[in-house]
């Protein structure tokens, strides 16, 4: 906290002392004032970004977990899907943003699809890794007590995988925000990313940074919510 205040103080001082023009780098006080003064505008653009980001993220989370479980349970599914997944991983995801606009138009759908596409694979990989990483001794113990494959999956592998799944959720949430913003850069009429491009056109760096601030807060709140959920669900780990 102190460090943050020191950095902000230094920033404020440096801009004034060096006479940097607001178009290059505004002072933190100016940005904060702008956030307050333009809160209506910022809120107006926050909502579409927020909902589309959440939609893309939840689709990726649900779909990613489901696919991760499928390739763990079924060897044939794994053989069929894994090579394609690896190939898709190679594609630089943000580069397909224009393609998605072509397919789904300039509305929210294409943005949700991009957020989904970016954050999908980390969820699959983390879920699969978590399920496969269950302690083999625990699995053998469950087998010795006559647990079936399905029981072992539900009672041993799934709970073991939770820490990994939450790791994946944290990564995916960050990527989903990036996905939405990039999509908004490419073509949008609303949202915080759009607001940033719009401000750039007007040379209004202050509002641009205000939008970035709100965007960061969005990401932070999403991440924080996941951490809170993790604290509730993963309660059994030994203290380090």
């Amino acid at each position: 906290m102190l460090t943050v205040l020191l950095v902000l103080g230094a920033w404020e001082g440096a801009v004034s002392a060096l006479g940097i023009r607001p178009i290059i780098l505004p002072r933190p006080s100016q940005i904060l004032w702008d956030v307050v003064a333009r809160r209506g505008l910022l809120l107006q653009h926050l909502w579409p970004t927020l909902w589309q980001c959440l939609a893309g993220f939840l689709l990726a989370a649900g779909g990613g977990m489901a696919l991760g479980m499928l390739i763990t349970l079924s060897a044939s599914a794994r053989r069929a899907i894994y090579p394609h997944m690896v190939a898709f991983q190679m594609i630089p995801k943000v580069a397909v943003a224009p393609l998605f606009i072509l397919w789904w138009g300039v509305g929210g759908t294409s943005r949700v699809m991009l957020a989904f596409f970016i954050s999908f694979f980390p969820m699959v990989v983390n879920t699969a890794a978590g399920l496969a990483g269950a302690d083999p001794d625990m699995v053998r113990m469950a087998r010795a007590f006559t647990a079936t494959r399905g029981q072992i999956f539900r009672k041993v592998q799934l709970p073991s995988a939770l820490p990994f799944i939450f790791s994946g959720l944290k990564i995916s949430s960050t990527l989903a925000v990036i996905g939405i913003v990039v999509a908004e850069f490419v073509s949008a009429q609303e949202g915080l990313g759009y607001l940033m491009i719009f401000s750039q056109g007007l040379m209004d760096t202050t509002t641009m940074l205000a939008a970035i601030l709100v965007l960061s807060l969005l990401g932070l709140v999403l991440y924080g919510a996941i951490c809170l959920l993790e604290r509730l669900c993963v309660y059994w780990q030994e203290p380090a």
Binding site: F145, T146, Q237, P239
Partner: protein, 266 residues
Amino acid sequence: MPSAVLSIQGIGKVYPSRRGDVEALGDVSLAVAAGEFVSLLGPSGCGKSTLLHMVAGVLAPSVGRIAVGGGAVTGPRRDIGMVFQAPLLLPWRTILSNVLFPVEVQRGRAADHAKRAMDLLATVGLEGFAHHLPRELSGGMRQRAAICRALIHDPTILLMDEPFGALDALTRDEMNLELLRVWGEFRKTVLFVTHSIREAVFLSDRVLVFSRRPGTIVKELAVGLPRPRSLEIEETPEFNRLCAELRAALRGSPPGPAALWGGARA
């Protein structure tokens, strides 16, 4: 043996490897009567754990036949309870929930067995920890809970794979006493794997000594010490004579060519 509850005949286990097959177990045959406490004693790597896992049905023998209660062992069975070297309690479940795990897996009703679970925990002094998580218990306490878990479904045979190996010597002595007390109450048939001579003699009715890999039984010793046994029995001449006999049997089994050269048989 007329009333053998466990019968092992001509068991062998071979693991294929790049440098030729590794024979983990040679020709092993033994029988255990109901209510008997039998120890398998041998050096590390002699296959005694492998044998235990085959009785549990989680590992298949390469040759031979194992029968429990007259029925052949073809896979994991409901009439077996097993305690491992590590407690292996599921860390996200309470102690009580862990003890009830076998019942849950076998689709029994937890409610019916909850009382029995609490009684078992009380027998080992853990009734106050029923709703704690495993991470809140010491290693010895967790292993005691694991023993309760192995008994909840009233198995015919209790298999124990060096269950006290990870504990310090004092706790180990305590746990040996505890085990005999619990065993005295329920009189289960026990197959106990250990590499401690004193532990084997203290606990058992019979001790079977294994050679180095490939493991075979090189000696069978009846332990006629009276029960119930307390730690003082370890001071008696008879106890020490038995230990000496076992030590000689262990020493007297030199490493075979297989163990020296890593497995390929001539």
